[in-house]
């Protein structure tokens, strides 16, 4: 598919929009429908589109497999780390109230960080899975 001009041009304009939409879904999840799970999947869909149009080698230069493995672990660590932080600051595990001076601010900060962790992990794992399948076809 690397020589299909229409696909290349259209996907080049679409991919930034998809990524922006994913970020919107990620950070607007508190107020409208959305959150880390959806944002991660949409973000990985952008890279999957890139892979389908420009090939696996180009996509692996954009998203090196090693970086994806680190990102996947980083998301889980961020989530667990917020829990440990609340423990250290004197609350229960994953009780975000202690993170900031007021309850509302603490909960906001906690939910934001936790959703970010979810988003990063889902994004990285979906791409790891897709690259594993795509790489299998390459001899």
């Amino acid at each position: 598919m690397t020589h299909n001009l229409v696909l290349r041009v259209v996907s080049k304009t679409l991919i930034p929009l998809i990524i922006m939409f994913a970020l919107y879904v990620q950070f607007h999840g508190d107020f409208g429908p959305g959150g880390g799970f959806q944002a991660g999947v949409i973000m990985s869909a952008a890279i999957i589109l890139y892979t389908l149009v420009f090939g696996l080698d180009a996509a692996e230069r954009v998203m090196p497999p090693m970086a994806l493995r680190i990102l996947a672990s980083l998301g889980v660590l961020l989530y667990g780390g917020v829990g440990v932080a609340t423990l250290v600051m004197g609350g229960n595990y994953l009780n975000y109230t202690v993170l900031a001076s007021t309850q509302i601010a603490g909960q906001h900060l906690g939910i934001l960080l936790v959703e970010l962790g979810v988003g990063i992990t889902v994004f990285a794992v979906m791409l790891i899975i897709f690259f594993a399948f795509a790489g299998r076809g390459r001899r």
């Binding site: 936790v114 979810v118 076809g137």
Partner: protein, 191 residues
Amino acid sequence: MIDVVINVTLLAFLAITAVAIVRMTNLFAIIMLYGIFSFLSAAMFVVMDAADVAFTEAAVGAGISTVLMLATMALTKDHEEKRPAGHRPWLPLAVVIVTGAALVYGTMDIPAFGDVDAPAQSHVAPYYIEKSIVDTGVPNMVTAVLASYRGFDTLGEVVVIFTAGIAVLLLLGGRRRKTAAENRGGEGNDT
């Protein structure tokens, strides 16, 4: 009235698509129909006021799942299900019909769809609906429950996804092993 009509039509479409998937043998058509099935179920979730769920189903079920299934089809180079001669589907059909009848009998006692006073609506949910905006300041109750009240649960889910990613990497990430057919030709050196 109009929502009942939409509800009935969408569910009927879902059932028809599912039956078509079972009856078909062309794998490509089956996978495409599964994408349609996912989109229909996402529409169904919107009708039932579950915007977040519909969002996820449309992105995941119709997007990622379909891509992965197509990748599998390309890797296995198998485009048609073979129906072995002399295979009788009567036993599985009987099992399915008996199970289904038992389940339908079970629905007789379930409160009607959309019942405001159903037991499911009267225990934890009112607390979430009243208190989530006061406790967390987050208007989207689904996010509040997901990340705050049930944060521990979600941590478990994230770990499950992470583990599945590692498992796929273990199964497919390494070097490709020779297939059985290729092995018969040369020496079987397994890596």
